[in-house]
Amino acid sequence: MSDRRPLFTLGVSTATRSVLRLAQPPARRSLPGLAAGVASAASAVALLACSAWLITRAAEMPPILFLGLAVVGVRAFALSRAAFRYLERLLSHDAAFRQLGALRLGIFARLLPLAPAGLSGTRRGDLLTRLVRDVDDLQDLPLRVVQPLATSGLVAVLSVIGVWWVLPAAGLTLALCLIVAGVVGTLATAALSARSERALAPLRGALADEVLEVVENLDVLTAFGALEARLNALAVVEDRLRRASLRSSTGAGVQAAVISLCAGAATVLALIAAIPALGTGGFSGPALAVVVLIPMAVFEVFAMIPPAISAWRQARSSAERVATAVPEQIPAEIPAADAVPREDSRPAVPQPGRALIELTGLGASWPGADRPALAGVTLRLDAGDRVHLAGASGAGKTTLAQTLVRFLDYTGSYRVNGVEARDLAPSDLRRVVGLCEQRPWLFDDTVRQNLLFARDTATDNDLLDVLARVGLADWVIQRGGLDARVGERGALVSGGQAQRIALARALLADFPVLIVDEPTANVDTGLGDTLVRDILSASADAGRAVLLISHTPVPAGLITSTYTLTAGSGLQRDPTPGEALVP
């Protein structure tokens, strides 16, 4: 890995650093771009130096032959500055894009064992979007942070050496001004802007919350006659933010002013150092022009540093967020992923009369939670069982579902076909136990692709058959067949249709044990009962066990038993299976 210079480790945790390392291309890829960048910036400095020498020397009226080299130099540097800049941008973008692939895969590899239960805080859709955007923003690290910092740093050092070689005193003043600009102009002003950001961020957050509430609940506020009061409250927050922004604006220009001042000072000091030296030790007029004018060009290159530093701050906070959302360490509550996915190690074929699933004193916790979300659950599922699991919200119904497919680790005993689940690779267990999630995820693709990944050998006829079983035969014809798209996150299908597609997927995969988690949670109430009825009849099979999780009553006759889950006290079998739960 290249460029692990101290600046990049200052105030950065190990976890963040490992994310940053994923984003930075290796040296062999970033060096060509860096070399072109240095060549371009050095050409810019050389162009001014060469022009200054040419003009001052020409004023001494030498034979024109003596100027030939300088004339060629001026033209060459003008061309090479633009050409190398073009090359720099191409090479560095190419390296950054190559790294983006590695970065995405690296983050994905970390997400794999964690998802879904271990992605703390990313269960909300917008936070997930944020994570993905952060990963994309990390592209800026090589392009807008490392490249300009390295380029301008190197060229500044080279220029100081060059000026030093002509006149040590001028080299010294240039180095001094660069250091002052670097320290005061970047670090000190960075502290200044960090302070104003600390003052502004909470105000900005408060305003965003207020605005979101007003905009999303405009109907409520209007209906309750509270809109005006609310807008007034918002105006107060808005005004506070505006005044804080105005206050912090005085600090905003300090950086640019300091750099401008240092650049000017470098020129003035070079004059003061060079004028007395004129004529001593072969220090001539043209050399004076060169050492006096070079600082201007160097500071133009130096101007790349402040934006690079603010880009660095953004890249760092992106990396911090990614590192927090996707920890490298897998929490204890998540079962370790199987090292190598084994082929054909599917647990033994279910035998009649033997329990498919047997839970004894099962408990489970979510990562970071201080107490278990599930405790003391004992349940047996045989082939042909259709069990309704009821319980108030918060009783741990979804936790149980996530535990049964081994997204969460468990305490107690959980046997599948007589084998303890801990002894099975989670991915092997998931060939036996399948789940229709509360919010089934549909991929932004066709209906066909959304079904095929459950069984990629299925023919179109198989797919149409299974869609008919889940009651989507007419719908898919109406939509124009299997090639109909479901839209981003299933935006083009309703909640009930999404559930049906998810069920069709599960039926294609032919799981011996199927868990259906709250299928009616996102479905219009009137359609819920029909959906539950259709799910239970479509999945009924002598060889399959179905566990339907639902807080609402289930129509009688479709289920073989009902259990109620109560927070902390496990499962209770209801006396009258299939009837509405009477307290």
Partner: protein, 551 residues
């Protein structure tokens, strides 16, 4: 893209103020640039000519003074830009929110509310860079470049003419290259969005992929997608970076041309060193602003795109369909109808969306003292009908409260309502329940919660933004309690609840039904949109809303 959208000046007076201040500061900055080049070239010329540092003290001191002045002006311009951005953002934000309040919920429903919220908060932050980086350079291009060119023409016409010839080539090149790559760039941008969305799709569906044992295959797919994208993007970049190349080349090559031409004329004595150096120092400055404008193009595009979205909201003048035949009651009749029980009657109410009638001439009488249930398949327009009763949705026909017509600009003091979405706010449960009330009646808050089946909820419990911290069922009950509170506290004759129990368990639902029966018993019109058998069983009156038959 227009460099400066005139609507920005119309909608935000702070932008006009900034342009004025920026122009004055830009002019002053240009003068310091000229003075700096002048004093510097004089110092060098005189020193080369043999003057000592002591005899040059005044010139060098003047140079130092210019340096300080220049730094101060740089600071002032940045401060002005930051203040301008803050003030403009604030003005636009206020204008958008006022506009939203004016247009009402039905108009907002046609937008994406989350997007609107983003536009007025973080979306507007794109204006920061537009003001801080782009506009000052645009101003300088308009002010500094002509002044510098004039000074050069005056001092050395040959150099001035070189600049005059090269300068216009820059925008011409940029426009030509920009046009050549615009389509490809747009496609590329879309591809980037798709790629990012594709990654999001895979990450979001990771649980599903794991369930079906397909998680590991995605690695290869992601790798090939990204690599393919890189190949295509680099092809485009090779062309679009050419515009940057043209900029750099025009700038540096004209400096080179000027330097060589000055050098040659110095050799034959037709030009003085002082003039030559002065012009050499001015030449790059003449190109600097337009180079910066080119470099800050993206800052400008993002800022203008953000402003564009705001203007789209502010300038959306499309009038909603007017209530065509709403009987407009005399306002003197429209005093809060308290006292004797009244009936809410719908007479031939129709709601149209575009050409389709969602509700076609519906008539119904909801009597006081009764629990009425409104049911029908989803899409039959139940919530739309409620919106019409509220006056949020334009309709034809008449809505009467007793004998008095309900009008569009009614302040709805006769109606208490809870929608399908709970729509809660940050604050305590109690402050949510008593929304809109001047003083909070704690006892009534408790009663309302109990009647809504949420008697176990602590009124002092604090909720996060949008009511975060409550389960779906709890939020629904708090929303119902809020409607009940308003109904009792302001004694309004009509209570409407839209799907209040879709996430409730049986106990809570029964408690809610009991509460609503009590309210109806006090002589109110109580209308509930629900499918739940328990509600239908408890209803005195059921209206079944069918999908409108398409003839």
């Amino acid at each position: 893209m227009r460099p400066l959208d005139p609507r920005l000046l119309t909608h935000a007076s702070a932008a006009r103020w900034f342009l004025l201040v920026g122009a004055v500061l830009g002019l002053a900055q240009t003068l310091t640039v000229v003075a700096f080049a002048w004093f510097l070239s004089q110092s060098i010329t005189l020193a080369v000519g043999g003057s000592s540092l002591e005899s040059l003290a005044t010139t060098v001191a003047a140079l130092a003074a210019v340096v300080i002045l220049r730094a101060v002006l740089v600071w002032l311009l940045e401060v002005a830009a930051n203040r301008g951005a803050a003030a403009v953002k604030s003005q636009l934000r206020t204008a958008v929110l006022a506009r939203l309040a004016e247009r009402g919920p039905d108009w907002l429903a046609g937008q994406q509310s989350a997007r609107v919220a983003t536009v007025v908060t973080s979306g507007l932050d794109a204006l920061d860079n537009y003001f801080a980086r782009y506009l000052p350079q645009l101003l300088l291009t308009a002010i500094a470049t002509p002044i510098l060119v004039l000074v050069m023409l005056w001092q050395d016409p040959a150099s001035g003419i070189t600049v005059i010839i090269v300068l216009p080539l820059i925008p011409v090149f940029m426009i030509l290259i920009g046009q050549a790559t615009q389509v490809v760039q747009r496609q590329q941008w879309d591809a980037l969005q798709r790629l990012s969305a594709g990654f999001l799709d895979v990450v979001g569906g990771l649980a599903t992929l794991k369930i079906f044992g397909r998680d590991r295959r995605q690695t290869a797919r992601l790798a090939s997608l990204t690599d393919e994208y890189r190949g295509r993007t680099m092809k485009v970049l090779r062309v679009s970076f050419l515009s940057g190349f043209a900029l750099e080349l025009a700038g540096s090559l004209s400096v080179a041309l000027i330097a060589v031409s000055i050098g040659l004329r110095l050799v034959d004595g037709s030009l003085l060193l002082g003039v030559g150096l002065f012009v050499l120092l001015l030449a790059p400055e003449a190109f600097l602003p337009i180079r910066q404008v080119g470099a800050q193009f993206h800052a400008a595009a993002d800022g203008l795109a953000a402003a564009e979205e705001v203007f789209a909201i502010l300038d959306d003048d499309e009038q909603p369909d007017q209530h065509l035949s709403v009987g407009r009651g005399d306002r003197s009749d429209a005093a809060a109808p308290t006292g004797p029980p009244t009936t809410l009657s719908l007479q031939a109410v129709s709601v149209r969306r575009g050409d389709a009638a969602i509700i076609d001439r519906l008539s119904a009488d909801f009597a006081a003292g009764q629990l009425s249930v409104l049911r029908g398949p989803s899409g039959a327009g139940k919530s739309t009908l409620i919106g019409a009763i509220q006056g949020f949705v334009p309709y034809d026909g008449r809505v009467l409260l007793g004998t008095m017509p309900v009008t569009e600009d009614d302040d709805r003091d006769w109606l208490a309502w809870a929608g399908q979405r709970p729509g809660l706010f940050s604050g305590t449960v109690s402050s949510n329940v008593a929304l809109g009330a001047r003083v909070t009646d704690d006892a009534l808050v408790r009663t309302s919660l109990a009647w809504a089946g949420a008697g176990d909820l602590d009124p002092a419990l604090r909720l996060g933004v949008n009511g975060a911290g409550l389960s779906g069922g709890q939020s629904q009950r708090v929303a119902a309690a809020r409607a009940i509170y308003r109904c009792v506290a302001t004694d309004c004759p009509v209570l409407v609840l839209d799907e209040p129990s879709s996430a409730l368990d049986t106990d809570a639902e029964n408690a809610l039904i009991d509460g609503l029966r009590t309210l109806a018993g006090q002589g109110r019109v109580v209308i509930v949109v629900s499918h739940r058998p328990a509600f239908v069983a408890a209803a005195d009156y059921v209206v079944h809303l069918n999908e409108v038959a398409h003839v």
